[in-house]
Structure formats: C-alpha cells, structure tokens
Chain length 252, copies 8
C-alpha cells in the first residue's frame, strides 16, 4: 500500500471514512510501512547479504548470488561446500571461498572501510574453522579483525604473550572446545565484551560441545556471553555489531 | 616491588646484574606492574564494587561494606538476604535494599551521571527478580535503564506496543523463562546487541531453565548472545558495558 | 488512536498527508485496531478469566478477582494455596476452592450451558490433582466432563470396563505418570483427539515426569499430542477448545 | 467365532452350558465382535491405508500396495525412498511420490471431497520436509490444507503478513526447529488448536530437536500440544482429525 | 454377569439370539469371566495384598487394612510413615512396622510355609532400607530370605567370604548405590537369576541413582536384569516369584 | 597347583610347614580349585559357548569356532556380519547364520532336548532383530520358544488375541521400542517373570532407546525387570535360565 | 583358619589328604591369609581410621570411635554433623570438629611426622568446605598441606602470585565450581599430578557440579585426573597417597 | 629479551629508569624468563614430544617430526592414521606405528632407561586400543609397563589370578567400558594410585562411555581418580608421571 496516496484518497473523499478505517485495520503489517522493521537489514545491505548454504541446491544458490550481484551488493554464504562454490564461481567469477571456514564471499562493488577492531581468539588449532567463520563474518560486515589463535589455557603463558594485542580490540570472540576455559580467562583480563563460542572439538565427555558450553555459561568473569556450539557466524556478527556501534558513534 | 627504585639500585650498582636478573624472574606477577590487569577494575571503582552475598556472614559483609565506604566507593551486593541487609544497614545507614531483586546497594559519594540506554525486557511477571537484578546492576555501573516488563510472545501484540521504546536502547537485556522466545523475537526487530537471560521460572519440562536456555542458544536471529540461567547480574553488567562503550566513545 | 476521527482530520485537511503518514507508521500496533488479536480472549470472557496464582500476593489476587467480578465475569485461578483462597473468600464469598487440584473459582453471573463431552482419564490415583485441574478447566470453559480415573495399563482390564464411556467423548485428556502408557493405549482405541499429560508422579528413573513424557511423545498410536509435565490446565483448555469447536459447529 | 450361530447352538442344546461357558471365557477378543475396535480404521479406509516404509523391502511394499489397490483403497506411505517408489511405480503406475516429504501415495478410486481447513506453518525452509509430510497426510485423510511456510519468529513481520490466512483454519500445524518459538506465537494469536512439531533442523545445542521440543512444551500460550520430533505424520493426522470432526459435525 | 445363567436364558429362549448377541458384544470385559486376568492376584491373595502407602490418608489406609483383615488376608504396605502405622495399629493391633524399610505388615491368618531361598545382598550399609523392602516383600509372598549385607566391591574379599551362602539361593537381589558394581560381580559368580536394584545412595555424579542404574544395565555378566532406582519392592516381588516358581514346581 | 599332591608333600615332610604356608597364601586363586567358579560355565557348555563377534577378525573367529567344534561343543556368535559368517562357513560347513538377528550358530554334536517355554513378544516389526537374538539365544541354551510378534499397545486387541499362548510360558521376553509399553501391559496380565528389552527403534525423542528404557523401568506392573537397550542376548539368556530352572527342578 | 596348624594336622596324618583338599577348596577367602588384602588398611591404621558419618546414629558413632581409641588409633569422620560431634565429644574429650569441612577427628596417640607437601587450591571462597575436607584428610594421613585458596581463573593474576608456593608440592588438589577451569590451568603450569575436584558451588547451568566436572574431564592439560563432585575426601586421600609414596621412597 | 643485557644497559645509563620501567611493564611474559613455565616440558623433552595427530595434514606432520628428529628428540603421535604414518615413514625411516592404539613413535637418539612399574589393566578385549595408548605413552616417557588385559569383573577370578603382578606397580591404569567396575575393584585391592579410563566400548545405555565414567566417579574405593572417556594418553601420562616421581626420588 502506498500510504500517502491512500491518505490523499481519503482527503479527496474518494475513499469513505468507514472504508478507509476498514482497510487500515486489515492491512498486512508489512505494507503499512514496516520497511522500518528492515532498517537494520538495509543498513547491513551496505555490506551485503548472508546465505545459510546447507540444503540449498547449487542452482538455487547461483540464482540468489546473481540477484544480489545485479544489485551491486556483496554476498556471504556460510557452511558452503566446495561443490556449491564451484557452481557459484562459474556464474560469478569474483566469488571466493575459504575451505577452512567454508565461507563463500562475493565482495560488494564498493566495500566500506573497516572500522575498529575485533579480536578473534582460539584455544587450539582445532577451533580454527569456527574462528575463521567468525573472523570473516566480522570482516564482511565492516570490522577490522585480528586473529589470535592457539592460546588455550593449558599453556597459559602463550595467552599472556598476546595480551597487549587482544587489549586493543573493542570486542573479543573467544572460540574454544574441550574444557572451554579461554573465554572466562580473557574476560577476566580485558575491559571489553567477550563473545564466547563453544566448539564441538574434543572427544569423550566433551559431548559434542556441551562441556565448553557449560564452562562458558558458568564463568564468573564479568563481561561475557555465549552463542551456540560452533556458531562462529553468530559470534562474528554480534562482536562486529558491537565494534561498529562503538566506533561508528565515535566518528559522529 | 617499586620498579623505578629497583632499577635505580641496578643503575647505582647496589644490586648486581645477577641478583637483579634473579629477582626479576621470581617476582610475583602482580608486583611487576600488573595493576594494569586491574585497569577495568579501577575504572569500575568509579561506580563501586560488587559483592556476591550468598555464603557470607553478616559480619563479613559489614566489614567489606565499611572498607569500601571509607574509600568513598559505592557497593553493590547481589542475592543478599533481608538479614544481611539489616546488619549492613545498622552499620551503614545509607544502604538500600530491593527485596524483589535482592540487590543491596550503597551509593558512591559522587555518582557519575548515567549515560546511554539499556532496555531490560521480560517475558512474564515471574521473571522480574532476575530482570531487576540486571536493571540495577546496569544502573549501578552508570547506564540509564528502561524497564519493559511482561511482553512475552504468547501475547505478542504487547511487545509491539512497546517496540519504539525498546528501539532507543544501545543494548537490550531479554529475560524470559518457560519457552524463552523473547530474546530471538527482539533480536529480529532491533539493530543493537541483545543479551538473553534464561530464567528458572516454569515447571515440568522447563527443567529449571534448560528449556529457555536452549531456545535462546538456538535462535537464528542475529545479534544475540546468552548468559547463565537466572544470571541477571551478568547480563546487566555486559549490557551496561556495551552501552557505556558506545556512548562514552561518542563524547570523545 | 481513534481511527475514524484520525481519517476525518485527514479528510478535512486539519492533518497534512505527510504528518498523517508519519503518525500511521509510528502507531502502537494495538491502537490500530488490534483488539482483533483479542477476539479469542473476548470469546473466552464469556466464561471468565484465568489467573496463574503462584507468586501473587493475597492482596493482588483479591484485587484481580474483584475487578472481574465487578464485570460479571467468572474467574479461574490455578495452583492457588489455601491461604490465597481464604483471602479471596473473605472479599468474595462466592469463591470456591478444590484442595486436590488447587483450582480456585468464582462462577460467572450467567454461566453458559456445558456442551459436548471431554473424558479425563488417569493411570493411577496419584495423578488426580493434575487430572482434576484439567477437568475443572474444561468445565469452566463450557465443556461437559466425564472423569474416568485409575485405569492404568498395569491392570488393563479396568480400562476396557470403562471404554464405552470414554468413546462418547469428543476429546480425551489422558493423565499418567510412571510409565505413562495410558495415552497411547487410549489413542489406539478411540476415534477422537487424545491430549496426553505426563505427571511427575513416580520415583527413581521417572525423573520428575521425563519418563512418561518420552513414552507419550514416542507412542505410535495416531491422534495424540502431548502437553508439559503436570500441565493439567493446558490439556483441559485444549481438549475443551476442541470439544467446543466440534459441538458448537454442529448447532449452526 | 460367529456369535449368533454359537448362541443358536446353545439354544438348540447342541452345546452344553458348561462347554459354552468355557468357550466364551477363552475366546480371542477379536472374534467376539471387536471389529468395533477397528471402527476408526474402517472409517479411515474411506481415504486409504498408511504404511511406515523404513525397513520394508521393495517387494513387501509392492505386495501391500497391490492388496489395497485391489480393494479400491488409497495408500499413503511415509518416509519412503526413491528406490521403494520406483518398485511400487512399476507395479502400480498411478503411484506418486514427493521427494521432499518422501510421501508415497496411491489415490483411492473415489477420493472424498476435502473439508474444512488445516494450516501447516513452518519457521524456516529447512522445516519443509516435515511440514510437507504433515500437509500431505492431512490432505490424504480428507482435509483442505493451506501451506504457510518460512514465517519464523526471527523475522516476525512475515508471520503477521500471513495471519489472516492462518486464522481461517480449524486446526494449525506449527513446524519449527532451532528455537522452535513459532508454535507459541501462533497459539497466542488464534482461537483454534495448534499442533506443534519440533524438527531436528539446527546444529550445536539444538541436540537433534530437543531444543524446539522443550520450547514448545514450555510455551505458556493456551491451546497447543506437541508431537514427537520430526513427526509430521502425527501432527498432520491429528490436525486433520480435529478439522474433520469440526466440519463433519457442521454438516449434520 | 453370571455366564452360565445367561446361557441358560438363551437355551430356554427367555433371551433372543439377537439380544444375547448384543449383550455379549457390550459386556464390560471383566464381567465376561475375566477373573482369569486376576488369577495371579488371587494366588497372591493367599499371602495378602500390597498397598503403596504414599499419598493415602491414615483413614483410607485403616479402611483398606480392615477390609482385608476381615477376609483373613494379610496386608503389606510399602513406604508407610510412622504416623500411618500408628493409625493402622490403633485399629488393628497385630500390625507391625519396620522403620528401616518403612514396610507395614499385617500377617495373614494362616501364613504359608516359606519355600526356596532368595538372597538379598547390598553393597553398603546405606542400601539397607531398599534391601529390607525387597527382603520383606519376598518373605511376605512366601519365600525364605537370606540377608547378605555390606559386601560392596571396594572390599571384594568380604563378598567372597559370603559366596557359599549366596550360592544356595534360587534367585538373588543385588542392591547397590554409588558405583553399583555388585550386581555384575555376583552374576559372574552364580548360576541363578540376579535382580539388580540401583539405589539413590551417593552424592555428586551419582545423580540420584543414575550412575548405578547405568552400571547395572551395562554389565556384561549374563543372567541379570534391573528394576527402577530404589525399587526394593519390585525386585523382592520378582525374585520371590522366580523362587516360588522354581521351588513350587519341584514339589509337584 | 595339584592340591592333593601338594598336601601329600606336606604329609611326607618334603615340604616344610613354613614353605607350604607361604605357597598357600600366594596361590593364584584359580589354581586353588576355583573351577568351582566356572560351574555354571561348564553347565552351559552342554549347550555350547557364546562369542560376541564385533571387533573380531574372521581369522580369530574361525579359530575359536574350530576349537569348540573339536571339543564337540556348539557355538553361538552374536552380532556377526555376513562376512564373518562366510569365513566360518568355509572352515566349518555346519555353521548357520540368521541375517535378521545376526546370530551365527554351530549346533553341538548332541543337542539337549528343549524344555519349558519362553515367549518372545515384540511391539512392532522393527523390533524383530532384537527379538530374534533373544529367541535364538534361549533356544540355543535349551528352552522351547514361542514367537509372538507385532502386538504393540497402539492396537492392543492384537495382544489379547494372543494372550492364551503367552500365558503358557514360564518366562516372557518383551521387546519394544518407541513408547515401550508392551512389557508393563504383559506383566499386568501374566503370573510369570517378564524380562523387558527396550530397543533403539524409533526416532526423535526416542533418543536411541532411552524412551522405552524409562517406560519399562517405571512400570508399576509387578514381576518385570529390564535389560540394556537392544540387549536381546541378555534377555534371552536370563529368560532361558529362569525357564530351565523352573522346568529342570520339576523333573527331579 | 590357622594355616600352619592346619598343615601340621596334614603332616601328622590327623587330617586325610581328601578332607584337607576339601577344606582348602571351601575356605572363606579371608581366613586363608587374606589379611594381605588389608595391608594398605593396616598401613593406614598407623594414622587412624575413616568413618563416613551420614546415616550413622550418635550412638553408633560413639561406639566406633571408642573402639579405635582403645586401640590407640586416630579416627577421621567425614560429613559429620554438629550433633554427632557433641555426642562423640562427650564420650571422648580429645575429639575435634571443623564446622567448615564437617571433618571430625580424634588424633592418634603417637601421630607420625608429616612428610612432603600437598597443595590444596580453590577457585573461590565457596569451594572452601570441599577443600578443607581434602586438606584435613591429607594431613590426617601424614602429608604436609599448604592451602592456596581463592585463585580462580576469572582473576588469574592471583594464581600467578601464588605459583611458586604451589610448585613446591609433590601433588596438587584443585577444587573449583562454576566453570572449573582451575585444574587445567594449574596442570599446565606444574610438573606434578593434579587431582581435580568439581564442586556443586554455582547456580543455573552449573547443574550441581556437572559443568566443572565436564570442564575438568575435557582439559587438554597433561597430568590431571578427576574425582566425584564435592569429593574432597577422595582427592585428599589420593593426593596424600601420591605425596607419601614419593617422599617415603626418597628416605629409603 | 636478554634480561642481563637489559639490566647492563640500565646500569650503564644507556637506558633511562623511565624507559626501562616502561619496557618491563610491557614485556611479553615469555621473554621475561618464562622458560621456567616450560621446565617440565624441557624435562619431558629428554623423552620426546607429543603430537595430537587428528586434523593435521601428512605434510604438517612430516615437518614437525623432522624438526624434532633434527634435535635428536623422540616424537610420539596419538590417534595417527595409517596414511599419516606412511608419510612420516617415508621421510623418517625409524618411525614406528601401532595400528591397535594408533600411536606413532620415533624413538629419541638416546632413550633413557625405564624406571619403576605401571600396570595397565583392561576389563575386556575391546578396551585394548585405549589401553595400548596408555601403555605406550607411559613407556615413551620412561616407565616400565606391565599389561594385564581382559580381567573384567564379570569373571572376577581372572583378576585375582593376576593380582600379585598388579601389586608390584607404583601406579595402575584401569581401562574399562560397559559397566566400568574394574577401577573400583582394583583400588580396593592395592595400595597405589589407580587412574581409571572409561571407554566408549559398549552399546545401548552405555551412551558412548557415560556409564563407565559415572561408575568410576562414584566408586567408594579410596585412591582412584578418573580421566576423560577413551583418554588413554592422559591416563598413561599421569600414571607414568606418578611412577617416575616415586622412583626418581628413591635414587637421590
């Protein structure tokens, strides 16, 4: 519905008060100007769109990517397969793929300059795929990212050797499997929000990530919250969002 | 250790290189200048200190409170009992207590002006104690707070009626028990970080808060993370931290 | 907002198109005519309102009950305590209380005639409080109810002895703890929807109702669904709703 | 046993009282006229029979299908494989197969007209296979079905845009994985029974569908019950049963 | 229904074939001679009846006990309280009560001689209440019982010192909490059925008896099965039943 | 150690009291005559030996089978693969294999006559592999077995039609997945021990057999115990043991 | 049995070879010289005996304590109550009680000198009762103990300030609730065995100690093992045992 | 940083007190002499380094192995694949591989003599891979190892036959799946630390090792602690560490 035009019809008497009242009450919400609900989506569009790739056919994926590319918009696909990437690549030569994180990207025509700093830290090397997903998502949505990998608490001096780097960040992503203590240790050492991601790395009583999930939820360090097991995307998005909000405001 | 004085001794030859090397290697970390580790604690001290009250005797509590008050610092105690409060009140007449959230406070001598806005939302009235803890913690650490209670998704039109208010916040705390869907619905409607708190409100297959915890971890809405069940303190602290970082930077 | 009056202002030019457009976009949803969202609540009001009593003070409860009584509306309170009832009784002499199900009721001024039939069945005598909650809720909202108690499958001939009675119902509530097999057995013998309620009755590996919950979810009998552990209210409401829909339509 | 004939023998003295008593006590129940137990199965037979395909060989399946087809009865097979379908197709050219829901059907010779309306809703596109199973089962047993897909609560305005459609249904199936909040939101907005189906779609702490299962069980919205994880068949059958009962009665 | 009388009426023509057919089909099962279903109950009645006491008022209990005593039947009540016993005692001076197992008994007028042997073994002294329930139930239903307590595997030489005694039993009840290994060790050493009972004795990761329950279910010793946590009654009944069947047959 | 020879040496003074005392204290238990511990194994040997096949190479399996065959002893292998069977078959042409239960057997030279009766019952056709394992194990160890399949409680009249058959057994194995109610219903209808086996048949909240396991543990029917999920061997062995004990004694 | 005397009888022909053989085979194991099984218990007796107090009456406790005291042996009771202590104190004035750890002790007449060093560390002050139980048990059995409390990883600089102290120990007990990361961090920093004790301190998703238990089991630090939740006794005993073995050997 | 050189610069005035103070505060910890943190690693290097192989490419693995071999250091890789071994073998002919435990080793140039004794025991043959990992890790780090396999408690006489052997060890590793009772039985019979390893061997309610894990945690035998499910490495490392500490001290 074109709201001004609708009101114009009321004003000009082409629509009776009763009929207009009735139409207002029955309007699908979206048509009523609820683009407002999508403000943050529009904002994000400056960077590009996100696609959750699992379960999508190569054909569907190509179609979606083409649609956004035609609009000059970047695209980020998570958990893509090599096969999905090849199909997209054929249709869209600028597409890139990171086999570690399985993130597929098509850069927007005019990428925005990255702001602030998100530090993405991991406990071990096995946490890399999840950490890379977080890092690339944060970068895609306009944050500068520093990777600080393999600083797990079983050899905690390695963490201290990188602490100064970590402290410059506006938000931290802490990715850890097994015992998952990294998040709490970091949150006890920094002044900025820590988004902890448990990973399914481990065996035995790790229970596919439940152990580090519980560790992180039960940390008594202040300034930390947790996302789902292996949810690098969610942590990268949230840490990037916090980083952009902090650093965007600064510029105003 | 007084580091400059130590180095002066080296310079003046009163301390041999060998002995000084030895002492450096054995120094307790803290003395080496690790006040830096406490920067955020000092910063926070502007607002006051936090005490987790359960398990502390009234006597211990009074002693701690007096110590901080002598330093002109405010104090916030979580999960205090009526009895603990009365003991503190006798020793420190300015102490206040909120029986709903069981938060005990002694305001600092010169409270800082509150900045920004944190919206604390709940699904039902039963979530109030946890939400109030979050709200009062955020306020104690210098954030303005708007309470938006009882907007659970089983009557979702109530949520929409308050949406404009919620959207003005820099960070949102979403407190919900039972099905716990509030966090995901909010995160889908706003552009700022949502910190979700599952509560142990409910019965049967709520399992003391596991049900809303899982709901919140599994939300596919972007921009949300989760703290422990009933952890109003953690959510209020983190949301306040994000809010202060966003709004402090703006002023510089 | 008074929508017709608003449109009148547009029509008369007292409100510019731009300003009216702006106001429309910002309207709280509810004011826009969303009473429609409450249709089923209004409908239900013919029977009365439901109050979840735990956590409410006697004072709050009395106030709520008075408010509805003033409107000639009945009230049903679930999980009330003896103390809460006494407070209500003092203020409202018509209030009744069933100590088994802990249901507190104030009948509406003009109760509707009960329609159809809901059969409320239990496996053992320990399931009675939950079953009575279901039965009284169904009755409160206008369904006729037949109680068929203590027909658990460990002595299945008792069930068969009551089968004819059960088969006359339009909807069945099957309440069972321990092994919880009652629901599946009933659903295999009747042609109408069975709403199964696991109860926390039992010990050991019953795990507070998880055992019968899983039994009921895994039944391969067709025509059954499950509500939360001990949720007699939910089952009674849903079975009553189905029964009223079936029998109301008939009359038209 | 032919009961009248048996009694005739008693009457004519060809069977002594003692012997007849003995025989009566030992009769297999079924022979005693317990076809009554199968009334609802006969009723259903008007639409056709249901086969749970997993674990059945192609040969067994073909045999079963032929048997029903010979009787002019339709057949619905759930969770069939492509291979099973091909075997059935070869023997029975009218067989159809939906690869999304893996439902295999042979229409009855004289299909009954569909009555009423069941709305089958999903949270995301990943929930489609389960939703389609529900939809096709409801259709097979004589209900009209409206599909309302991808209206999950992380973008809740999409749900509102379809609300009028949903409200015309006599029963609603709400299929959702991940956080699983769809069921509770719908039940809060409509006046008819909602049958919620948790799906195993998701990862991490979704735990193969436990997360949405708990969400749905803990909803405080009235008028909803839950079936097993991924049990589209069960939900479609129950919703269809409710819909038929409501609309069949109307016609009488 | 009196079946011979019914058939007589048919024979004499006082009941038409049609009417008789109709009555046969509608008979409540029990009346049709299903006393047969209660054979084992009648058999058991030789020993007396069992009452699960929790949730029953003292009044109800007294009434039940009186009813059986009038019939000369013994009564066994499980999980009785001291208060319940005192009420029963007042009405029925022969009642006895064991405060350890909380078993309340009224011996039958003519108790049968005990046959065979059931060995009831425990891992520790904390398992005594459950073991005593098992022992007394087995005794009540006519088995001789040997108690072999405190032979847990953490000091396995104690078990070996009692092995000859245990080996004379026809069935063994193995009661153990904590690690619960007793059952498997016994089943590896004897030739008769072992009924294992996990108890909720323990703390920490015992989880109220889940640890010994899993231990017992996972034993690779042949000839053992498990009952519910703390279910001394169930184990004593089953072991007694096996013992009676073995030793009763012998005498014939 | 040859005990009589040892004592002879003592008697003849060839072994000093001290030395003999020392040797007695250090004897490996087994050598001291602990064949007694293996009595039940020897007894069983009359029927043959049991091999748990998973993880064994074809070569190892052939060697074991040959060893027993040379001794004229039968062999029963559980959970064998087709490949393992083929290797055994090549070396030992009398070997037989049942692909449903994956039981591999070599009959003993002089099989004992089967005694008594074990009834093996299943809820559905999917429970067949587990039930067949139970049945064949009971048969292998000398029990007569009656198979009563597909009598699950969702169509409980099928169970009643077979009840007379079931009642002739000395022990019953009840195999059921999904809701697992079969065991409790049977135990309520018979006078003999019921050994219940939960199976991992099912999906969703069946959780690989936890649902029927809990159902069976929580049954309030008397005279039932439970073995591990899918443990057909254990149930068949125990039911066979009970049946043999009951019927062997009778003959003496 | 007196073995030498038995052999003497064989030697002197007072016992025939046959009879002696028979007696040897039937001997209760213990009598055969199995005091050897109790060597470690005798060894321990030098320090005293341990009593698990819960469930014991004051009278039983007094009797046990008196018995050991008469033998000059010390006694250590775990999880004693104030009431139990008072009863013991009355009978045995030297008895001592620590209300924090609930450890009751009566020192042996001639306590051995403590050897080596066990460091008992805690994450927070709430872990004190469990830690004190560990410390006092290690001391009771002859180890020197250093307490290093409140060094949890949320403020990890506190841990580093105490590291030199910790490194002098031969074995470390790490007691922690909530996230439970202390054990893994310590094991990564020292060269000696770390025995980790999860505690039930915490709330929400701590699940009574499951969270720290899983953290500790999943640590990738080498040289750590875990005892049951809150099992201070077990950890103190094991760490003390390791410490004594290391330091006892040194002296030889 | 070269600390003596740094201090020399201070002494000679080439570095001002202020600047030196600043540098000290900002030093990465490691450079400050934190080799101390690696003392135990250096110590261990005498034996060689450990690599967790899963997730490493053959190329990465070869590079790591070459690096250590160049330094004359041995290497132990856990959970290696046949393929990984072949790649390493090609580059380093001395490499060895055990397909059962999947341990890959390159012996150091000058292996130290093995000291003391670690006994590695298993319940069944299925536990061998985990036990071999433990045994080889203990051997690699300089302990003598005795393997005592297949002594599970379902045939406990086998355990007793090997007890004397086990008692000579300074530390015991007890590996067991299914019911997992081995650890507790052993700890009740010996005077040295028992490190228990639950394995994922088993089926049904073994839940991938949870059953033996809980059994071991709940043992009331003194002197035992537990590592993660299937964590042969951790148990072998810890038992070896204890054994070396006990036997190393002796030599001083």
């Amino acid at each position: 519905m074109d709201v001004p035009q609708f009101l114009q019809q009321v004003k000009e008497g082409r629509l009776s008060i009763d009929e207009a009242t009735q139409r207002l009450r029955q309007l699908p919400f979206e048509e009523l100007g609820f683009a407002k609900l999508d403000h943050h989506r529009q904002l994000r569009t400056g960077y590009g769109e996100v696609i959750y790739c699992p379960g999508k056919t190569a054909g569907q994926l190509v179609e979606i990517v083409r649609h956004f590319q035609a609009a000059g918009t970047g695209v980020l696909g998570t958990r893509a397969t090599e096969t999905q990437f090849e199909a997209v690549k054929a249709a869209c030569p600028l597409a890139a793929f990171d086999p570690v994180s399985r993130v597929l990207t098509v850069a927007p025509e005019q990428p925005a300059a990255a702001v602030g700093l998100v530090a993405v830290c991991t406990g071990g090397t096995g946490d890399l795929p999840v950490a890379e997903e977080a890092a690339q998502v944060a970068e895609f949505f306009g944050s500068r990212v520093e990777r600080v990998y393999d600083i797990g608490v079983a050899g905690i001096h390695r963490l201290f050797a990188r602490l100064e780097t970590i402290r410059h960040a506006s938000a931290i992503v802490a990715v850890a499997g097994m015992e998952g203590a990294l998040g709490g240790v970091l949150a006890g050492l920094v002044e900025v929000p820590v988004i902890a991601v448990p990973t399914s790395v481990g065996y035995g009583a790790s229970f596919g990530g439940i152990a580090p999930l519980l560790t992180m939820l039960n940390s008594c360090a202040e300034g930390m919250a947790v996302v789902n097991i292996d949810n690098g995307f969610g942590a990268g998005y949230l840490a990037g969002q916090i980083n952009r909000l902090i650093n965007r405001k600064k510029e105003i």
